[in-house]
Symmetry: C2
């Protein structure tokens, strides 16, 4: 295995994604490079108040640590405490237009002791659902994984549904996508190739959706619902998300990690959408498990 090859891929991926997003938005992503006293560092690329993106970040980091936090591996907690190296690209984009969904993508590689493993995935969080968009996003996820066996997509789709789930709300975060972790079979090159397939597919999975929805007119009602639903995003990321907790626990750069949080969020006691509204349809038709890649 060559971790340098992985980090080279990751920095290239970050640059390609940012370039594509800048073209979509018309604005420029700020660039903040940082180092970490314990070892390593990263490059944060961020946008706020863009024409398309109200707030978003595409982070690259490669860090070394003396003691792996437990949040870093789901399947092998016994590795907690070992010296480790971790690298990845992680992005969250919050468009201003409530008809454009929020998106998250992450690809990562860990090494601890003699072991290494890959993880990653991408998932979509719409405020107003469109079946065409859900089918497109999941179709792209399925296509990315197809070269690695037909069983990958359904397995990683299910994993995503289970992972991005707010237990205290009994509610999925969004319409899912794919998620995988602890990937180390059959060999380093195959796993690295799978991670690249996911990273390389991101723009194709997301850009057509925002291009279709960005010109839709919206008003205060849609912005209010977006702000309310963004609260769920905050709850998930701060209570459950292992990537966020790993970052905070491992002394990552707080401002870069918390770029995943939306720009403006509202909480409202026991609020529920009126039956028959587009807001109610998000819950009834989209925040439920569906086989989007097979037509939904």
């Amino acid at each position: 295995m060559t971790l340098d090859a992985v980090s080279e891929y990751l920095t290239g991926l970050q640059a390609r994604i940012v370039a594509a997003l800048e073209q979509l938005d018309g604005g420029t992503f700020r660039r903040d490079a940082w180092t970490r006293p314990e070892g390593g560092g990263g490059i944060s690329r961020l946008i706020e108040d863009g024409a398309l993106f109200e707030r978003g970040g595409v982070n690259y980091s490669r860090v070394q640590g003396a003691s792996l936090p437990p949040s870093a591996t789901a399947a092998r907690p016994q590795l907690g405490g070992l010296a480790y190296e971790a690298m990845g690209v992680s992005l969250v984009l919050h468009p201003r237009n409530p008809y454009c969904p929020t998106v998250h993508m992450n690809v990562r590689c860990f090494a601890a002791g003699d072991l290494w493993w890959f993880g990653g995935g991408m998932d979509l969080t719409p405020y107003y659902g469109f079946e065409e968009d859900a089918r497109h996003f999941h179709g792209a996820c399925k296509a990315a994984l197809a070269p690695f066996g037909a069983e990958r997509y359904p397995r990683y789709k299910k994993w995503c549904d289970e992972y991005f789930f707010l237990k205290h709300r009994n509610e999925p975060r969004g319409i899912g996508g794919i998620f995988f972790d602890d990937l180390s079979e059959p060999d380093f090159e195959s796993c690295f190739a799978l991670m690249r397939a996911v990273g390389d597919r991101f723009i194709n999975a997301y850009a057509p959706i925002v291009e279709r929805r960005r010109a839709l007119a919206y008003g205060e009602r849609e912005r209010e619902f977006q702000a309310y639903r963004r609260g769920r995003y905050v709850e998930f990321n701060l209570v459950y998300d292992r990537g966020t907790l790993f970052g905070l626990q491992s002394g990552g750069r707080t401002e870069a990690i918390l770029m995943s949080l939306p720009p403006c969020v509202k909480w409202r006691y026991d609020w529920k959408p009126a039956p028959g509204t587009p807001e109610a349809r998000l819950y009834s038709d989209f925040l439920v498990p569906r086989n989007w890649a097979d037509g939904g």
Copy 2:
């Protein structure tokens, strides 16, 4: 020990506090009673869009469970897994006027196996600091604890500073107050009396502060800073707060628990107040450990 006496005190305390807050606000707190399939339930009293309080809740709950979550006790993790009973009053109030501070108070009693213990405290989170207010609040905390020994206030004040601390920001949540947990010495009656002293003092500690500040004029600048700082409140409550995590882990009522979250919150990348502004003074003069009860 008689847990019924504690719950009777707690329901009375909730009623007294809500009555005082309704008088302050001029509006009415909504009342939601709930039960829990695993045993017990609670009464939530809530306000949104009040004249004074933009959002706030005063919750009472008494619940029984088959297995104590680890978040319930700091000092005795070995009790995790035991059957338990827990009761408490917990409140958070978010005034609309940024010159009025957010406040939190909690008093609670746990029993598991043959053991019981009390916990609680109150703490203040200003957006714009006033030394007079900080001295008043800490003075009230000190006065509440004075009958239980002169060493209590400094000990519980320090505990509060340590507990309400955002490690990932290296920043206290606010100006503190008092916090205690696992209190079971010297005997049940004394501990219960201490808990009552804290609960009974709350209105006296908080009401004079909002009465002094509620008429101060503010504009968009102050509201923006308030929304930004409220983000820290969310980060603390969802990442660190054991009360919140206990509620979510023990199958409490999510909407009641998350009444602690502010109504409207903003995140902004790497934002810092300009030197010399009132916003900068919050950080330099208030979000630092000070002996407020002894004149600051």
